[in-house]
Symmetry: C2
Subunit: 358 residues, 2 copies
Amino acid sequence: TQTYRITLLPGDGIGPEIMAVAVEVLEVVAKQEGLNFEFTTALIGGAAIEATGEPLPAETLDACRQSDGVLLAAIGGYQWDNLPRHLRPETGLLGLRAGLGLFANLRPAAILPQLIDASTLKREVVEGVDIMVVRELTGGVYFGEPKGIFTTETGEKRGVNTMAYTESEIDRIAKVGFETAQKRTKKLCSVDKANVLEVSQLWRDRVTAMANDYPDVELTHMYVDNAAMQLVRAPKQFDTIVTSNLFGDILSDAAAMLTGSIGMLPSASLGATGLGVFEPVHGSAPDIAGQDKANPLAQVLSTAMLLRYGLHQPHAADRIESAVLKVLDLGYRTGDIMSADMTAVGCREMGRVLIEAL
Amino acid sequence: TQTYRITLLPGDGIGPEIMAVAVEVLEVVAKQEGLNFEFTTALIGGAAIEATGEPLPAETLDACRQSDGVLLAAIGGYQWDNLPRHLRPETGLLGLRAGLGLFANLRPAAILPQLIDASTLKREVVEGVDIMVVRELTGGVYFGEPKGIFTTETGEKRGVNTMAYTESEIDRIAKVGFETAQKRTKKLCSVDKANVLEVSQLWRDRVTAMANDYPDVELTHMYVDNAAMQLVRAPKQFDTIVTSNLFGDILSDAAAMLTGSIGMLPSASLGATGLGVFEPVHGSAPDIAGQDKANPLAQVLSTAMLLRYGLHQPHAADRIESAVLKVLDLGYRTGDIMSADMTAVGCREMGRVLIEAL
Ligand SMILES: CC(C)[C@H](C(=O)O)[C@@H](O)C(=O)O
Ligand SMILES: CC(C)[C@H](C(=O)O)[C@@H](O)C(=O)O
């Protein structure tokens, strides 16, 4: 049997609860598929700050590097919001992305027929929406230098970040965009602000040039303000979106919210080496932490993405995704997706019915 | 009688058609209110490029500077999209903002009961939405230096823009944010990305400090990705939003689209001198230009904003806004907001019924 070393990063808030369910699910699937998982748990975010004084201890990065895949739950909480930047949970997450070279972030936002009424948009507008946002994750204004708070000649402070991309940074994420579109409906929309920003002009030029290598993909360009608008106006026009770090942060959250149920959405962060980090789109929800109220399904679907994109075990991924659809068909709902006539369950109970469904 | 010099910038696409309606309306209101307008028409955008080779001729900027208020329609069109940056219509618009020091952009997004079904969101989600986005307009990544496409040591190109704000730039827009909130429901949400960006950290610190001067305003902070999400999830939670140039560009368009009818939304760009530019949120719609199909109401409501915020003639502004509501109540609709049982009209005809309503 194939053995995979998986690093678990439960993090903060509801992280440990939803991670526990995901691991149980993985263990059942492992038996069914004849796979073997060796799990290592490591610290990140607020939990790491409490234990070690830093949000991303070197041992955590090492553990991740030595594994075949990383499962992350969620980081952050109010108690760490006012620490200096290098001691913030978010800084740990950014360090993980940079440290593992995870330049490609895949964020699917698909409407599940079972949950369509959870959307704040009209049924006819969102029915069938199936968007994949391919977000650049280790460049742009998140990492550009110079950055900091400087003092100007007149003695006042000036906050500075640098939004920058090199050609090779653009090319490698554009490639992921085209290849992702190829596996889907072959429609790729590149989002930028080329009418104002030079960095976007270079982005648009490189993406346009690469289109020659993918004659089967229909490439369009859209300005980011218009994209935010079009996601609300007519989201079905989109299939695959490829965009920079900051625009992807904003648009993937807007796209996620179209589904009305961000407790359901997984994501994958991939690099050149094949090692990836898989995590839910939602946050650590400190307000409901420890109360067995969290929805573990995004975490469980993140393990499906780990199996599909990280470990190349599509069959095991299919199993998990089918089990999730089945528990929804059976009417089980955590609080965040509860509606009339459904069966309310907590986090652990959702795990139990999932395992039954498997 | 008070005389006001107004510079008209009809621009491109549907610009001239909707401007003609707005001017007729202004002339009627002038008589009713005993005001006197002297209009000067000047070139901007594509129209200026065709006539003079540049998107913002010096005469245009001079005319604006010598006037009491500027009414702009819309700029841009496909034929100018691939020109070098300094010859683009958008560059003219940015030059106008910078040249007149228009650092504060007010973008209201309110649902009109008459048009609520035009929204793609469910009625109960958007009913009563009334948001004012206060966007910084002459700083941030739109204008920060250095910018350009440079060659790195390894010989590849690197596109660079600089996202920067000084304390005084933040303070003056924050002040507009607080004062705007004071005139509304006293709720101000400042949007930034302070968990990642130093420039946002400075933004948040300054806005927080200024809150002491406005004890009657309830200040909250939100990250831009969450704000994009919350606008879709529960837009009624927002009243006044204050944010930077780029975030305001994206969020004001998302907020506008919640109403389902961006053909209805005006905006105001204000500086320290009192001189302002008033324009619709929508673009130049080259596909329907010259066909008498455009909706002139955003342009007409922009003249109301000119009267209210630029010329301090609130009574005249009220007249125009009431007339717009009246023609909607009477059932007149241009194509973009048409629905069953309503009376379809073109741009000119909408102007005619507006004047009747006045
Ligand atoms: C927590 C934060 C640093 C992060 C980001 O902005 O990338 C988050 O919003 C995300 O989208 O994963
Ligand atoms: C045309 C463009 C330069 C402009 C902007 O980005 O500011 C537009 O999108 C706007 O919002 O007024």
